[in-house]
């Protein structure tokens, strides 16, 4: 009996040892790489349906191009707006630099104007949706301290607390990350009084060119009842985007072969 107990304990230690072999920081870095750094580059068409508390909807349709320098390192994004009509032809360029403010430019074709956009607030809404900027382009793993709270249904449950609480509206957030492919499938954000006020869910995950990819996700504002559903289509990775597409030249002259 004593022997069996010993074996059980050893087994339990072994199993938990294997499961917890990854630290919370490692899981978050892998999750960030799996969510925002698939391949060397990529493209996707994104349709956002923004629903307000009264059930009225608005739509944003855009193409996003991405170029990585290294996993969890600097990245460049190019966003071209197709719809609605009043923003058609606008393009947006982001040079993401972990640990620093991004460089952002917005091109307004009617004025031929390349505007530099101040980027210090990464928590502001992306194009009026319920997603914050950094929920689209990725929040740097080093901006929070992470704690592994356990496992549920094959997912790691991680609690992340901001290092600079003054810069964000949440006090902490909890993420569930698939153990097998490191795709985060749910996040809950808690406000300064500890109340849950926002959730982000992966509604559909597909294998695209070998990369598990969230193709439908939803952000819900529990205070107002509004939500935004983003659907990704025509996703392609490793298409050989040139780095110079992510410059002022292509704001003025959108690269048609990648955005149509």
């Amino acid at each position: 009996m004593r022997k069996i107990t010993a074996i059980t304990i050893t087994l339990a230690l072994f199993v938990s040892g294997a499961a917890y072999a990854l630290t919370a920081d490692e899981i978050v870095r892998k999750a960030s790489a799996a969510s925002y750094y698939q391949g060397k580059d990529g493209r996707a068409d994104v349709n956002m349906v923004i629903t307000d508390s009264l059930g009225r909807t608005r739509e944003r349709y855009m193409t996003i191009l991405r170029y990585d320098h290294e996993d969890n390192g600097p990245q460049r994004f190019y966003v071209y707006f197709h719809r609605p009509s009043d923003v058609e032809g606008m393009s947006y360029l982001v040079w993401k630099k972990p640990g620093e403010d991004d460089d952002r430019w917005l091109y307004l074709p009617a004025l031929d104007l390349v505007r530099r956009v101040a980027a210090s607030d990464k928590r502001s809404s992306f194009v009026g949706s319920h997603f914050a900027y950094e929920e689209i382009s990725g929040r740097g793993p080093e901006e929070d301290t992470h704690e592994l709270e356990g496992e549920e249904d094959g997912k790691y449950k991680i609690r992340s607390t901001p290092r600079e609480p003054g810069e964000v509206e949440f006090s902490y957030f909890v993420t569930w990350v698939n153990k097998d492919n490191f795709v985060p499938v749910r996040a809950e954000l808690y406000d300064k009084r500890g109340k849950l006020y926002k959730t982000i869910e992966a509604l559909e995950i597909k294998d695209i060119e070998g990369y598990p990819t969230v193709v439908k996700m939803k952000a819900s504002d529990l205070n107002t009842g509004g939500n935004t559903v983003s659907e990704f289509s025509d996703i392609d990775y490793d298409i050989g985007l040139e780095e110079d597409i992510f410059t002022e030249r292509y704001l003025r002259r959108p690269p048609r072969r990648y955005i149509r």
Binding site: R58, P84, D86, D112, A118, S120, S125, D244, R252
Partner: protein, 430 residues
Amino acid sequence: MKRSGFTMAFLMIVCVFLTVNAEAEEFEFPEIHGFLEEAFAPGFGSDDVKHRQYNMAEARLQLRADYYFSGDNILAEWQTAIESKCDFVLDFYYGGKVLTDLRELNAVFTPLDIVDIRAGRQVLTWGTGDYLFLNDLFPKDYVSFFIGRDDEYLKKPNDALRIMVYPEWFNIDFAFIPFFEPNDVPTGDRVSFFDSFEGGIAGRSSELHVVEPSETPKNFVYAARAYKNIKSYEWALYYYRGFDPSPSSYKNEAGHQIYHQRLDAYGGSLRGPVMGGIGSAEVSYYYSPEDPDGDIRTIQNSMMKYLLGYEKDLGNDLRVGFQYYLEQTLDYGEYRKALLPMDYRWDEFRHVVTSRITKFFANQTVKATVFAFFSPSDMDAYIRPSLSWDATDSWNLTVGANLPFGRDSWTEFGSVRKNKNVYARLRYSF
């Protein structure tokens, strides 16, 4: 070649392009987008413009279409596109006159890996200022600005050939404009202004006559920019050879004639992140070739212009921006000596500060903006509040006001102080 000839030639080239491509198998009819807008601006002026009760009442239809060449031909290989945009305006200010405003009709193509060319009617913009322009000497429509049209109409299009070259070391942007396009400035018909011949603010009574440069090759306008990003900082150098876009010199005083004197401009700018926001600095030297020593009293002297700007995002969809602008008339002593006893005397220095506050509400469907100019040296100001509501993806309602003030009638904003208005624009986009 006269202007109409130039336009005809361009239209013919477009037709040839389209014919070439119509033979390609996959001819795709372009999508048409645009908007329909009603705009009305009651004014509370007291001068003798055409209508005292309002200075804008118009319905506007904008149509846009872009065409991309495809198939197996040189135009497709050059990724050629034709971009077009035309406004049709039913202008009740002028008794319901229908005006056509062709804002864009150009072909853009990439004949070499590092070269983009855009030929035809287009809007051109560069520089770092917000409503203040130093090295951007492309034409503006200040009448639209003062009566409350959308910002889009502050920029007037040019007929231009623009060549953009992108070698490794830095980028070059060159614009050739065969026919100088002047700014639209108040002339008393719709917006009253300061007329020095009348000695005060004038409306339709003004007999001022603006003489435009003749359309000859020696009056071609050239503009160029060289720019480069070094890390997060954008450096640029500018050159302009043309005419002052606003008429600011006298041709014939007895005939009340003013004109656009020749102007060369040389400048530079720098823009990048500063203390969590975006800082910018721009400088320009305006050389007046017709009055190089500054001693001709009827012609604008050479000038120096300086601009510092800062913009910051404070979070919660609140953004603030500030600018400081300084204008210096060079050879000021010569200018003063040349003046006659009855002449108006402009100051050597003009200082302007501006602020912009922008706040979004209701998931960015409501945008509130206040832009203010204030000149402590001229003692004048111009405040532009506006509130824009995207009721749906198609419907937008914008209301706002134009409030110029000034102690004196001859300063920039003081001269238009009788044109205060409020405006409302209802727009359906499709």
